[in-house]
């Protein structure tokens, strides 16, 4: 495994928590009253929101609407994720 920088490490945690959410989402689509599933979803949702907030503050927006720049449109300031080392 390559050595990850701090930005990539935070991105990995976001990807992990988004993956947990995506898995729970599909499971809940066919099991919409499962208490354990709902609890699992809520736990990871809170975690994802916190991690994304940290990422936005340190490294810029993950969605165009998260851009907050007053001098420069931040969405075009950061690379897209298909570049090696940017995901």
């Amino acid at each position: 495994m390559p050595v990850l920088n701090d930005k990539q490490k935070l991105m990995r945690r976001i990807q992990q928590s988004c993956f947990a959410l995506a898995e729970a989402n599909l499971y809940l689509d066919s099991h919409p009253t499962c208490k354990m599933g709902l609890e699992y979803f809520r736990k990871h949702k809170a975690e994802k929101e916190e991690l994304e907030k940290e990422y936005n503050e340190k490294y810029g927006p993950l969605t165009a609407v998260q851009s907050e720049g007053t001098k420069k449109w931040e969405w075009v300031a950061k690379p897209f994720p298909w570049e090696r080392g940017e995901n």
């Binding site: 390559p2 991105m11 990995r12 976001i14 990807q15 988004c18 993956f19 995506a22 898995e23 989402n25 599909l26 499971y27 689509d29 066919s30 099991h31 919409p32 927006p61 993950l62 969605t63 165009a64 609407v65 950061k78 897209f80 994720p81 298909w82 090696r84 080392g85 995901n87």
Partner: protein
């Protein structure tokens, strides 16, 4: 509607370009069991789904397939970076290069361009869900074949992730089929089309 997130669902970081391998993996973008066809299949079928659960599943899996299309495209992009003309000719990538340079265009490994013929939207949820389950297995087989064709761990890692997703989606579509048949008369599930015929 949709919103784009500037991240891959699972990381793709490939050290060594390999245009011959890109020419094979491109089938999971524009081939008969690729991610583009998967996404269009589910996102088109969802309107005639007879329950909220199945509508949600087709929407959410169809959306995830768009993220898989992006991962496959990132693999192709990174496998074809910085190529010399010698590498392009010797790898056999020249037959793709002549039409597309190193741009990403949905074709099968055979070179046949993507076609809507690769999927159906039949307006009958039992028919559609059986197609969806078969489609997930076909894509799983294609990923198995890709894994037989490369030793590069940087490529195998994201391909293994995508292969696993086919298995999970198969399971979820099976549950959807169960939800649909539970709404019907068990003596004959096929007596009428629950999305069209009025009971």
């Amino acid at each position: 509607m949709w919103m784009y997130e500037k991240k891959l669902q699972y990381p793709v970081n490939i050290k060594n370009p390999d245009p011959a391998l890109a020419k094979v993996i491109i089938s999971q973008l524009g081939g008969p069991d690729g991610e583009l066809g998967a996404s269009l299949r589910y996102l088109n079928q969802r309107y005639s789904a007879p329950s909220r659960e199945v509508q949600a599943m087709l929407t959410d899996i169809g959306t995830e397939e768009l993220a898989h299309m992006e991962m496959i495209s990132a693999i192709l992009y990174q496998l074809t970076r910085g190529l010399s003309m010698k590498e392009i000719k010797e790898s056999g990538f020249d037959t793709y290069f002549v039409d597309h340079t190193t741009g990403i265009y949905p074709v099968a490994a055979s070179g046949v361009p993507f076609s809507a013929d690769y999927f159906q939207s039949k307006g009958d949820p039992i028919t559609d869900l059986n197609e969806d389950m078969a489609a997930e297995q076909k894509a799983r087989t294609t990923y198995d074949n890709i894994l037989r064709l490369t030793d590069d761990p940087d490529v195998r890692d994201p391909i293994k992730f995508l292969r696993e997703r086919e298995i999970v989606h198969y399971q979820r579509f099976g549950e959807c089929l169960r939800i649909v048949t539970d709404m019907l008369d068990s003596k004959n599930f096929y007596a009428f089309n629950p999305a069209f015929d009025k009971k």
